[in-house]
Symmetry: C2
Subunit: 264 residues, 2 copies
Protein backbone atom coordinates (compact mmCIF):
# COMPACT_ATOMS: atom_id res chain seq x y z
CA UNK A 1 0.00 0.00 0.00
CA UNK A 2 1.29 3.42 -0.85
CA UNK A 3 2.10 5.77 1.96
CA UNK A 4 -0.93 7.60 3.23
CA UNK A 5 -1.17 10.82 1.33
CA UNK A 6 -3.52 13.74 1.41
CA UNK A 7 -6.11 13.73 -1.32
CA UNK A 8 -5.50 16.92 -3.22
CA UNK A 9 -8.12 19.16 -4.63
CA UNK A 10 -11.68 19.43 -3.62
CA UNK A 11 -11.51 21.50 -0.53
CA UNK A 12 -9.03 24.13 0.41
CA UNK A 13 -5.48 24.38 -0.79
CA UNK A 14 -4.11 20.93 -0.34
CA UNK A 15 -0.62 20.99 -1.66
CA UNK A 16 0.90 17.57 -2.16
CA UNK A 17 3.92 16.95 0.03
CA UNK A 18 6.61 17.93 -2.42
CA UNK A 19 6.42 15.12 -5.00
CA UNK A 20 10.15 15.16 -5.39
CA UNK A 21 12.56 17.91 -6.20
CA UNK A 22 11.87 19.78 -9.42
CA UNK A 23 10.78 23.39 -9.37
CA UNK A 24 14.32 24.41 -8.64
CA UNK A 25 14.98 28.07 -8.21
CA UNK A 26 18.64 27.94 -9.07
CA UNK A 27 20.44 31.28 -8.77
CA UNK A 28 21.84 30.67 -12.21
CA UNK A 29 19.01 29.60 -14.54
CA UNK A 30 20.56 26.29 -15.35
CA UNK A 31 19.54 25.38 -18.86
CA UNK A 32 19.95 21.64 -18.79
CA UNK A 33 19.90 19.65 -15.60
CA UNK A 34 18.34 16.30 -16.21
CA UNK A 35 15.27 16.14 -18.42
CA UNK A 36 15.36 19.88 -19.06
CA UNK A 37 13.29 19.81 -22.20
CA UNK A 38 9.59 20.35 -21.61
CA UNK A 39 10.30 20.70 -17.93
CA UNK A 40 8.13 23.79 -17.96
CA UNK A 41 4.90 21.87 -17.70
CA UNK A 42 5.93 20.34 -14.42
CA UNK A 43 6.69 23.75 -12.95
CA UNK A 44 3.11 24.96 -13.16
CA UNK A 45 1.77 25.15 -9.60
CA UNK A 46 -1.35 23.08 -8.99
CA UNK A 47 -3.30 26.17 -7.97
CA UNK A 48 -2.39 27.82 -11.24
CA UNK A 49 -3.53 24.78 -13.21
CA UNK A 50 -6.99 25.05 -11.71
CA UNK A 51 -7.14 28.72 -12.57
CA UNK A 52 -5.95 28.09 -16.12
CA UNK A 53 -9.02 25.92 -16.56
CA UNK A 54 -11.16 28.85 -15.47
CA UNK A 55 -9.38 31.24 -17.82
CA UNK A 56 -9.99 28.77 -20.61
CA UNK A 57 -13.71 28.82 -20.05
CA UNK A 58 -13.82 32.60 -19.91
CA UNK A 59 -11.73 32.80 -23.07
CA UNK A 60 -14.06 30.43 -24.89
CA UNK A 61 -17.01 32.61 -23.96
CA UNK A 62 -15.15 35.69 -25.17
CA UNK A 63 -14.25 33.98 -28.41
CA UNK A 64 -17.88 33.15 -29.05
CA UNK A 65 -18.67 36.82 -28.60
CA UNK A 66 -16.14 37.68 -31.24
CA UNK A 67 -13.28 38.96 -29.11
CA UNK A 68 -9.91 38.81 -30.85
CA UNK A 69 -7.56 40.08 -28.20
CA UNK A 70 -7.89 40.50 -24.47
CA UNK A 71 -5.78 42.28 -21.88
CA UNK A 72 -4.75 40.74 -18.60
CA UNK A 73 -6.95 43.29 -16.89
CA UNK A 74 -10.11 42.27 -18.74
CA UNK A 75 -9.47 38.56 -18.50
CA UNK A 76 -8.61 38.65 -14.84
CA UNK A 77 -11.74 40.64 -14.04
CA UNK A 78 -13.89 38.12 -15.86
CA UNK A 79 -12.18 35.23 -14.12
CA UNK A 80 -12.39 36.86 -10.72
CA UNK A 81 -8.69 37.07 -9.95
CA UNK A 82 -5.96 39.63 -9.56
CA UNK A 83 -4.44 40.71 -12.88
CA UNK A 84 -0.91 40.16 -11.62
CA UNK A 85 -1.82 36.62 -10.65
CA UNK A 86 -3.28 36.02 -14.06
CA UNK A 87 -0.14 37.23 -15.82
CA UNK A 88 2.01 35.08 -13.58
CA UNK A 89 -0.18 32.07 -14.27
CA UNK A 90 0.13 32.64 -17.99
CA UNK A 91 3.86 33.14 -17.70
CA UNK A 92 4.15 29.58 -16.40
CA UNK A 93 3.11 28.28 -19.78
CA UNK A 94 5.06 30.73 -21.91
CA UNK A 95 5.02 34.24 -23.34
CA UNK A 96 2.13 34.53 -25.72
CA UNK A 97 1.11 38.14 -25.12
CA UNK A 98 1.97 41.29 -26.99
CA UNK A 99 3.05 44.19 -24.81
CA UNK A 100 0.88 47.21 -25.25
CA UNK A 101 -1.88 45.09 -26.76
CA UNK A 102 -2.73 42.00 -24.78
CA UNK A 103 -3.25 38.36 -25.63
CA UNK A 104 -4.70 36.90 -28.79
CA UNK A 105 -7.71 34.90 -27.66
CA UNK A 106 -7.25 31.98 -30.02
CA UNK A 107 -3.57 31.63 -29.22
CA UNK A 108 -4.21 31.64 -25.50
CA UNK A 109 -6.95 29.04 -25.85
CA UNK A 110 -4.66 26.77 -27.83
CA UNK A 111 -1.78 27.07 -25.42
CA UNK A 112 -3.87 26.49 -22.32
CA UNK A 113 -5.51 23.50 -23.95
CA UNK A 114 -2.10 22.16 -24.82
CA UNK A 115 -0.79 22.51 -21.27
CA UNK A 116 -3.92 20.99 -19.79
CA UNK A 117 -3.68 18.10 -22.19
CA UNK A 118 -7.02 18.86 -23.76
CA UNK A 119 -5.79 18.27 -27.27
CA UNK A 120 -6.50 14.63 -26.57
CA UNK A 121 -9.91 13.36 -25.58
CA UNK A 122 -10.20 11.78 -22.15
CA UNK A 123 -12.83 9.12 -21.83
CA UNK A 124 -14.65 9.12 -18.52
CA UNK A 125 -16.23 6.20 -16.71
CA UNK A 126 -18.81 6.78 -13.99
CA UNK A 127 -19.25 4.11 -11.33
CA UNK A 128 -22.37 4.15 -9.17
CA UNK A 129 -25.38 5.22 -11.20
CA UNK A 130 -27.56 6.47 -8.37
CA UNK A 131 -28.74 10.03 -7.78
CA UNK A 132 -25.42 11.60 -8.52
CA UNK A 133 -24.32 9.13 -11.18
CA UNK A 134 -27.47 9.80 -13.17
CA UNK A 135 -26.85 13.54 -13.00
CA UNK A 136 -23.28 13.11 -14.20
CA UNK A 137 -24.25 10.72 -16.99
CA UNK A 138 -26.96 13.06 -18.22
CA UNK A 139 -24.84 16.18 -18.02
CA UNK A 140 -24.06 17.57 -21.43
CA UNK A 141 -21.23 19.81 -20.36
CA UNK A 142 -18.51 17.17 -20.25
CA UNK A 143 -18.54 15.68 -23.75
CA UNK A 144 -18.49 19.17 -25.25
CA UNK A 145 -15.32 19.92 -23.32
CA UNK A 146 -13.38 16.90 -24.44
CA UNK A 147 -14.48 14.53 -21.70
CA UNK A 148 -16.87 12.02 -23.26
CA UNK A 149 -18.63 9.88 -20.69
CA UNK A 150 -18.09 6.57 -22.38
CA UNK A 151 -18.82 3.95 -19.73
CA UNK A 152 -21.20 3.53 -16.81
CA UNK A 153 -21.01 0.90 -14.09
CA UNK A 154 -23.16 -0.25 -11.20
CA UNK A 155 -23.57 -3.31 -9.06
CA UNK A 156 -27.37 -3.26 -9.10
CA UNK A 157 -28.69 -5.93 -11.51
CA UNK A 158 -31.81 -3.85 -12.15
CA UNK A 159 -29.64 -1.07 -13.53
CA UNK A 160 -27.31 -3.18 -15.66
CA UNK A 161 -28.29 -2.89 -19.30
CA UNK A 162 -30.46 0.14 -18.77
CA UNK A 163 -29.36 3.08 -20.89
CA UNK A 164 -28.63 6.28 -19.00
CA UNK A 165 -27.73 9.42 -20.86
CA UNK A 166 -27.44 7.43 -24.06
CA UNK A 167 -25.22 4.55 -22.99
CA UNK A 168 -25.96 1.28 -21.25
CA UNK A 169 -24.92 0.55 -17.68
CA UNK A 170 -22.44 -2.29 -17.27
CA UNK A 171 -21.82 -4.46 -14.26
CA UNK A 172 -18.76 -3.56 -12.24
CA UNK A 173 -17.23 -6.93 -13.05
CA UNK A 174 -16.82 -5.61 -16.58
CA UNK A 175 -14.72 -2.65 -15.49
CA UNK A 176 -11.44 -4.12 -16.72
CA UNK A 177 -12.77 -5.14 -20.11
CA UNK A 178 -14.88 -2.09 -20.88
CA UNK A 179 -12.39 0.44 -19.55
CA UNK A 180 -9.71 -1.10 -21.66
CA UNK A 181 -11.87 -1.27 -24.80
CA UNK A 182 -13.01 2.31 -24.48
CA UNK A 183 -9.66 3.62 -23.35
CA UNK A 184 -10.99 5.19 -20.19
CA UNK A 185 -8.48 7.48 -18.53
CA UNK A 186 -10.63 9.09 -15.84
CA UNK A 187 -12.82 7.23 -13.39
CA UNK A 188 -15.56 8.94 -11.41
CA UNK A 189 -16.70 7.29 -8.19
CA UNK A 190 -20.30 7.99 -7.16
CA UNK A 191 -21.00 4.91 -5.09
CA UNK A 192 -21.92 4.75 -1.42
CA UNK A 193 -18.86 5.30 0.82
CA UNK A 194 -18.33 1.64 1.80
CA UNK A 195 -18.02 0.59 -1.83
CA UNK A 196 -15.67 3.37 -2.88
CA UNK A 197 -12.34 1.77 -2.03
CA UNK A 198 -13.20 -1.50 -3.74
CA UNK A 199 -14.39 0.30 -6.84
CA UNK A 200 -11.28 2.42 -6.78
CA UNK A 201 -9.07 -0.66 -6.66
CA UNK A 202 -10.85 -2.13 -9.65
CA UNK A 203 -10.46 1.06 -11.64
CA UNK A 204 -6.77 1.18 -10.84
CA UNK A 205 -6.36 -2.44 -11.87
CA UNK A 206 -8.09 -1.58 -15.12
CA UNK A 207 -5.41 1.01 -15.82
CA UNK A 208 -7.33 4.16 -14.95
CA UNK A 209 -4.83 6.80 -13.88
CA UNK A 210 -7.09 9.52 -12.59
CA UNK A 211 -10.00 9.35 -10.22
CA UNK A 212 -12.59 11.90 -9.24
CA UNK A 213 -14.14 10.79 -5.98
CA UNK A 214 -17.53 11.95 -4.68
CA UNK A 215 -17.74 9.44 -1.84
CA UNK A 216 -16.71 10.89 1.52
CA UNK A 217 -13.83 8.52 2.16
CA UNK A 218 -10.07 8.82 1.85
CA UNK A 219 -8.99 6.54 -0.96
CA UNK A 220 -5.80 4.54 -0.91
CA UNK A 221 -4.11 4.50 -4.31
CA UNK A 222 -0.68 3.76 -5.73
CA UNK A 223 1.59 6.72 -6.29
CA UNK A 224 1.04 6.80 -10.01
CA UNK A 225 -2.70 7.40 -9.68
CA UNK A 226 -4.04 10.89 -9.23
CA UNK A 227 -7.07 11.38 -7.02
CA UNK A 228 -9.20 14.47 -6.57
CA UNK A 229 -12.17 14.49 -4.32
CA UNK A 230 -15.33 16.55 -4.26
CA UNK A 231 -16.78 16.58 -0.79
CA UNK A 232 -20.02 18.49 -0.59
CA UNK A 233 -20.50 17.93 3.11
CA UNK A 234 -17.15 19.59 3.73
CA UNK A 235 -18.16 22.50 1.52
CA UNK A 236 -21.29 23.03 3.56
CA UNK A 237 -19.39 22.79 6.82
CA UNK A 238 -16.86 25.36 5.70
CA UNK A 239 -19.74 27.67 4.90
CA UNK A 240 -21.21 26.91 8.29
CA UNK A 241 -17.92 27.92 9.86
CA UNK A 242 -18.16 31.29 8.20
CA UNK A 243 -21.67 31.81 9.43
CA UNK A 244 -20.51 31.05 12.95
CA UNK A 245 -17.46 33.27 12.68
CA UNK A 246 -19.60 36.12 11.44
CA UNK A 247 -22.08 35.62 14.23
CA UNK A 248 -19.23 35.76 16.72
CA UNK A 249 -17.86 38.92 15.17
CA UNK A 250 -21.25 40.54 15.32
CA UNK A 251 -21.70 39.54 18.93
CA UNK A 252 -18.26 40.89 19.76
CA UNK A 253 -18.86 44.23 18.10
CA UNK A 254 -22.29 44.53 19.65
CA UNK A 255 -24.32 44.04 16.48
CA UNK A 256 -27.70 42.38 16.85
CA UNK A 257 -28.38 39.11 15.12
CA UNK A 258 -31.32 36.88 14.39
CA UNK A 259 -30.88 33.19 13.73
CA UNK A 260 -27.27 33.61 12.89
CA UNK A 261 -27.95 36.42 10.50
CA UNK A 262 -26.44 39.76 11.30
CA UNK A 263 -29.03 42.51 11.24
CA UNK A 264 -26.36 45.23 11.36
Amino acid sequence: MAAQRGQRGGVGGDTPPAPTAAEITTPIPRVADVPAARERARAVPEAAVARLAVYLRVLSAMQEQGAVTVSSEELSAAAGVNSAKLRKDLSYIGSYGTRGVGYEVTVLIEEIERILGLTRKHSVAVVGIGNLGHALANYGGFPGRGFPVSALFDVDPDLVGVPVGGIAVHHIDDIPRVCSEREVSIGVIATPPPAAQTVCDRLVEAGVQCILNFAPVVLQVPDHVEVRKVDLAVELQVLSFHVARRADDAAATGGRQVNGMVVS
Copy 2:
Protein backbone atom coordinates in the same frame (compact mmCIF):
# COMPACT_ATOMS: atom_id res chain seq x y z
CA MET B 1 -21.47 45.85 -7.07
CA ALA B 2 -18.72 44.63 -4.86
CA ALA B 3 -15.19 44.62 -6.13
CA GLN B 4 -14.37 41.55 -8.18
CA ARG B 5 -13.12 38.91 -5.82
CA GLY B 6 -11.79 35.43 -6.23
CA GLN B 7 -14.27 32.71 -5.40
CA ARG B 8 -12.66 30.62 -2.72
CA GLY B 9 -13.02 26.93 -2.39
CA GLY B 10 -13.71 24.33 -4.96
CA VAL B 11 -10.42 24.15 -6.68
CA GLY B 12 -6.99 24.84 -5.36
CA GLY B 13 -6.11 27.33 -2.67
CA ASP B 14 -7.79 30.50 -3.76
CA THR B 15 -7.10 33.27 -1.31
CA PRO B 16 -9.21 36.36 -1.91
CA PRO B 17 -7.14 39.32 -3.06
CA ALA B 18 -7.59 41.78 -0.22
CA PRO B 19 -11.34 42.53 -0.29
CA THR B 20 -10.95 46.30 -0.19
CA ALA B 21 -10.06 48.40 2.75
CA ALA B 22 -10.30 46.73 6.13
CA GLU B 23 -7.91 43.82 6.47
CA ILE B 24 -5.17 46.34 7.10
CA THR B 25 -1.63 45.13 6.94
CA THR B 26 -0.24 46.87 9.96
CA PRO B 27 3.57 46.94 10.09
CA ILE B 28 3.37 44.64 13.07
CA PRO B 29 1.51 41.57 11.78
CA ARG B 30 -0.94 41.69 14.65
CA VAL B 31 -3.59 39.09 14.03
CA ALA B 32 -6.19 40.46 16.37
CA ASP B 33 -6.23 43.94 17.75
CA VAL B 34 -9.59 44.86 19.16
CA PRO B 35 -11.95 42.06 20.22
CA ALA B 36 -9.29 39.62 21.39
CA ALA B 37 -11.74 37.36 23.22
CA ARG B 38 -12.95 34.41 21.12
CA GLU B 39 -10.71 35.73 18.45
CA ARG B 40 -9.26 32.27 18.14
CA ALA B 41 -11.95 31.13 15.78
CA ARG B 42 -10.90 33.73 13.26
CA ALA B 43 -7.32 32.54 13.38
CA VAL B 44 -8.14 29.12 11.98
CA PRO B 45 -6.76 28.98 8.44
CA GLU B 46 -9.32 28.18 5.78
CA ALA B 47 -7.41 25.09 4.74
CA ALA B 48 -7.49 23.84 8.30
CA VAL B 49 -11.24 24.38 8.51
CA ALA B 50 -11.80 22.10 5.56
CA ARG B 51 -9.64 19.44 7.15
CA LEU B 52 -11.42 19.77 10.48
CA ALA B 53 -14.59 18.77 8.67
CA VAL B 54 -12.84 15.66 7.44
CA TYR B 55 -11.53 14.83 10.91
CA LEU B 56 -15.04 15.19 12.21
CA ARG B 57 -16.36 12.59 9.83
CA VAL B 58 -13.58 10.17 10.66
CA LEU B 59 -14.15 10.72 14.36
CA SER B 60 -17.86 10.04 14.00
CA ALA B 61 -17.08 6.76 12.29
CA MET B 62 -14.64 5.86 15.07
CA GLN B 63 -17.18 6.74 17.71
CA GLU B 64 -19.72 4.41 16.11
CA GLN B 65 -17.15 1.67 16.31
CA GLY B 66 -16.79 2.29 20.00
CA ALA B 67 -13.49 4.13 20.09
CA VAL B 68 -13.02 6.24 23.22
CA THR B 69 -9.66 7.85 22.64
CA VAL B 70 -7.56 8.33 19.54
CA SER B 71 -3.99 9.43 19.00
CA SER B 72 -2.95 12.01 16.46
CA GLU B 73 -1.16 9.25 14.61
CA GLU B 74 -4.27 7.10 14.20
CA LEU B 75 -6.56 9.97 13.37
CA SER B 76 -4.20 11.50 10.86
CA ALA B 77 -3.72 8.18 9.11
CA ALA B 78 -7.47 7.71 8.79
CA ALA B 79 -7.91 11.25 7.52
CA GLY B 80 -5.07 10.96 5.07
CA VAL B 81 -2.87 13.73 6.41
CA ASN B 82 0.42 14.23 8.19
CA SER B 83 0.15 13.78 11.97
CA ALA B 84 1.96 17.06 12.62
CA LYS B 85 -0.53 18.85 10.46
CA LEU B 86 -3.38 17.26 12.32
CA ARG B 87 -2.03 18.34 15.68
CA LYS B 88 -1.48 21.85 14.44
CA ASP B 89 -5.00 21.96 13.05
CA LEU B 90 -6.39 20.83 16.38
CA SER B 91 -4.22 23.33 18.22
CA TYR B 92 -6.02 26.13 16.38
CA ILE B 93 -9.17 25.29 18.25
CA GLY B 94 -7.66 24.63 21.65
CA SER B 95 -5.86 21.99 23.71
CA TYR B 96 -8.15 19.07 24.21
CA GLY B 97 -5.66 16.23 24.14
CA THR B 98 -3.94 14.38 26.94
CA ARG B 99 -0.21 13.90 26.48
CA GLY B 100 0.82 10.32 26.52
CA VAL B 101 -2.73 9.22 25.74
CA GLY B 102 -4.35 11.05 22.87
CA TYR B 103 -7.68 12.75 22.34
CA GLU B 104 -11.04 11.78 23.75
CA VAL B 105 -13.24 11.14 20.73
CA THR B 106 -16.41 12.69 22.13
CA VAL B 107 -14.61 15.82 23.31
CA LEU B 108 -12.95 16.32 19.95
CA ILE B 109 -16.23 15.87 18.12
CA GLU B 110 -17.92 18.44 20.32
CA GLU B 111 -15.17 20.99 19.94
CA ILE B 112 -14.90 20.65 16.18
CA GLU B 113 -18.66 20.92 15.87
CA ARG B 114 -18.58 24.03 17.99
CA ILE B 115 -15.89 25.68 15.89
CA LEU B 116 -17.61 24.76 12.63
CA GLY B 117 -20.88 26.13 13.95
CA LEU B 118 -22.61 22.78 13.68
CA THR B 119 -24.34 23.12 17.02
CA ARG B 120 -26.94 25.06 15.12
CA LYS B 121 -28.86 23.64 12.17
CA HIS B 122 -28.33 25.33 8.82
CA SER B 123 -31.25 25.17 6.48
CA VAL B 124 -30.32 24.72 2.86
CA ALA B 125 -32.20 25.88 -0.22
CA VAL B 126 -31.49 24.35 -3.62
CA VAL B 127 -32.23 26.42 -6.71
CA GLY B 128 -32.48 24.68 -10.07
CA ILE B 129 -34.06 21.27 -9.73
CA GLY B 130 -32.62 19.64 -12.83
CA ASN B 131 -30.24 16.70 -12.96
CA LEU B 132 -28.01 17.94 -10.22
CA GLY B 133 -30.72 19.59 -8.16
CA HIS B 134 -32.64 16.33 -8.01
CA ALA B 135 -29.57 14.47 -6.82
CA LEU B 136 -28.95 17.02 -4.11
CA ALA B 137 -32.57 17.08 -2.98
CA ASN B 138 -32.70 13.30 -2.78
CA TYR B 139 -29.38 12.95 -1.01
CA GLY B 140 -29.82 11.74 2.55
CA GLY B 141 -26.38 12.69 3.76
CA PHE B 142 -27.05 16.36 4.37
CA PRO B 143 -29.99 16.35 6.80
CA GLY B 144 -28.21 13.81 8.97
CA ARG B 145 -25.24 16.15 9.27
CA GLY B 146 -27.19 19.19 10.38
CA PHE B 147 -27.96 20.59 6.96
CA PRO B 148 -31.66 20.01 6.30
CA VAL B 149 -32.64 20.74 2.72
CA SER B 150 -35.71 22.77 3.49
CA ALA B 151 -36.56 24.60 0.28
CA LEU B 152 -36.39 23.88 -3.44
CA PHE B 153 -36.82 26.41 -6.25
CA ASP B 154 -37.08 26.32 -10.01
CA VAL B 155 -38.39 28.52 -12.77
CA ASP B 156 -40.03 25.69 -14.70
CA PRO B 157 -43.83 25.77 -14.14
CA ASP B 158 -44.01 22.00 -14.70
CA LEU B 159 -41.76 21.48 -11.70
CA VAL B 160 -43.38 23.94 -9.33
CA GLY B 161 -45.51 22.09 -6.82
CA VAL B 162 -43.96 18.72 -7.58
CA PRO B 163 -42.42 17.11 -4.51
CA VAL B 164 -38.77 16.14 -4.81
CA GLY B 165 -37.05 14.33 -1.99
CA GLY B 166 -40.05 14.96 0.21
CA ILE B 167 -40.63 18.67 -0.25
CA ALA B 168 -42.43 20.65 -2.90
CA VAL B 169 -40.65 22.81 -5.45
CA HIS B 170 -41.42 26.53 -5.26
CA HIS B 171 -41.19 29.13 -7.95
CA ILE B 172 -38.11 31.34 -7.74
CA ASP B 173 -40.33 34.35 -7.19
CA ASP B 174 -41.04 32.89 -3.77
CA ILE B 175 -37.38 32.86 -2.76
CA PRO B 176 -37.63 35.86 -0.43
CA ARG B 177 -40.75 34.63 1.35
CA VAL B 178 -39.85 30.96 1.67
CA CYS B 179 -36.21 31.53 2.57
CA SER B 180 -37.26 33.91 5.28
CA GLU B 181 -39.97 31.61 6.65
CA ARG B 182 -37.67 28.60 6.75
CA GLU B 183 -34.65 30.54 7.92
CA VAL B 184 -32.45 29.43 5.06
CA SER B 185 -28.81 30.26 5.63
CA ILE B 186 -27.19 28.39 2.76
CA GLY B 187 -28.22 28.61 -0.86
CA VAL B 188 -27.13 26.05 -3.44
CA ILE B 189 -27.17 27.11 -7.07
CA ALA B 190 -27.68 24.32 -9.60
CA THR B 191 -29.16 26.29 -12.47
CA PRO B 192 -27.76 26.69 -15.96
CA PRO B 193 -24.85 29.17 -16.02
CA PRO B 194 -26.78 32.11 -17.52
CA ALA B 195 -29.32 32.04 -14.69
CA ALA B 196 -26.81 31.73 -11.87
CA GLN B 197 -26.07 35.41 -11.24
CA THR B 198 -29.73 36.36 -11.17
CA VAL B 199 -30.56 33.53 -8.82
CA CYS B 200 -27.61 34.49 -6.67
CA ASP B 201 -28.84 38.08 -6.43
CA ARG B 202 -32.26 36.90 -5.32
CA LEU B 203 -30.80 34.66 -2.65
CA VAL B 204 -28.66 37.49 -1.36
CA GLU B 205 -31.67 39.80 -1.28
CA ALA B 206 -33.48 37.13 0.70
CA GLY B 207 -30.78 37.29 3.34
CA VAL B 208 -28.87 34.13 2.47
CA GLN B 209 -25.28 34.57 3.61
CA CYS B 210 -23.60 31.55 2.10
CA ILE B 211 -23.77 30.17 -1.40
CA LEU B 212 -22.53 26.94 -2.86
CA ASN B 213 -22.32 27.35 -6.61
CA PHE B 214 -22.27 24.52 -9.12
CA ALA B 215 -22.71 26.69 -12.19
CA PRO B 216 -19.45 27.41 -13.99
CA VAL B 217 -19.58 31.18 -13.62
CA VAL B 218 -17.87 33.67 -11.34
CA LEU B 219 -20.55 35.12 -9.10
CA GLN B 220 -20.61 38.74 -7.99
CA VAL B 221 -21.67 39.07 -4.38
CA PRO B 222 -21.47 41.70 -1.63
CA ASP B 223 -18.60 41.35 0.81
CA HIS B 224 -20.74 39.90 3.56
CA VAL B 225 -21.74 36.87 1.48
CA GLU B 226 -19.53 33.83 1.35
CA VAL B 227 -19.32 31.88 -1.90
CA ARG B 228 -17.77 28.50 -2.56
CA LYS B 229 -17.87 26.91 -5.94
CA VAL B 230 -17.73 23.34 -7.09
CA ASP B 231 -16.52 23.17 -10.63
CA LEU B 232 -16.46 19.66 -11.98
CA ALA B 233 -15.15 20.66 -15.38
CA VAL B 234 -12.14 22.22 -13.69
CA GLU B 235 -11.60 19.07 -11.65
CA LEU B 236 -11.52 16.98 -14.81
CA GLN B 237 -9.18 19.39 -16.51
CA VAL B 238 -6.77 19.32 -13.61
CA LEU B 239 -6.76 15.54 -13.85
CA SER B 240 -6.21 15.86 -17.58
CA PHE B 241 -3.19 18.03 -16.87
CA HIS B 242 -1.70 15.29 -14.75
CA VAL B 243 -2.23 12.72 -17.46
CA ALA B 244 -0.43 14.99 -19.89
CA ARG B 245 2.40 15.70 -17.49
CA ARG B 246 2.87 12.03 -16.84
CA ALA B 247 2.87 11.25 -20.53
CA ASP B 248 5.52 13.91 -21.04
CA ASP B 249 7.65 12.52 -18.25
CA ALA B 250 7.41 9.06 -19.68
CA ALA B 251 8.34 10.30 -23.11
CA ALA B 252 11.29 12.17 -21.67
CA THR B 253 12.58 9.18 -19.75
CA GLY B 254 12.10 6.91 -22.72
CA GLY B 255 9.14 4.95 -21.38
CA ARG B 256 6.68 3.59 -23.86
CA GLN B 257 3.10 4.68 -23.71
CA VAL B 258 -0.21 3.71 -25.22
CA ASN B 259 -3.02 6.23 -25.46
CA GLY B 260 -1.55 8.39 -22.79
CA MET B 261 -1.08 5.49 -20.45
CA VAL B 262 2.42 4.66 -19.44
CA VAL B 263 3.25 1.00 -20.01
CA SER B 264 6.40 1.14 -17.91
